[in-house]
Symmetry: C2
Subunit: 70 residues, 2 copies
DNA sequence: ATGTGACTCATAGTCCGTA
DNA sequence: CTACGGACTATGAGTCACA
């Protein structure tokens, strides 16, 4: 039950659902390409501010990115 | 729409609903007393790992702490 | 288009206090 | 019991070259 992995999976899922590349998402969220990559792989431990940025770029609520819908 | 303030409000709300003091919550979540204080005041920008710790100590899902239920 | 290690610099998070 | 400050140490933010 690793929260970082949960966030990573949710980001990837919503990103692909929107048909975006990591680079495009990174641009929209005003983040770096490699950083987004790290988040999706569950290696990064992002702050709530980063989660909010990603959620905003993905058009979903921040809380959605923390949900573990196995 | 400050995400930090949202988290702070939710933590405080759930903490008081459980009848815990900040010190007790800090102990349960294995965090520092002053840090929990800062989170509730919305001046801290916690990581998702910290959010998960607090959620666990409060007995709620991590995503609950990011919800803005106006 | 993405994964990865290494890096600098900012800040997350701790610990000492006072009111 | 809580707010708030100041001084620390650990780790996240943000970037790069390269596979």
């Amino acid at each position: 039950m690793d929260i970082k992995a949960v966030v990573g999976r949710n980001v990837k899922q919503h990103r692909e659902a929107k048909g975006l590349s990591q680079e495009q998402l990174a641009f929209e969220a005003d983040l770096h390409r490699t950083y987004v990559s790290g988040v999706e792989r569950g290696i990064r431990n992002p702050t709530v501010l980063i989660v909010a940025k990603l959620a905003n770029a993905l058009g979903v609520e921040p809380s959605k990115l923390l949900e573990l819908n196995d």
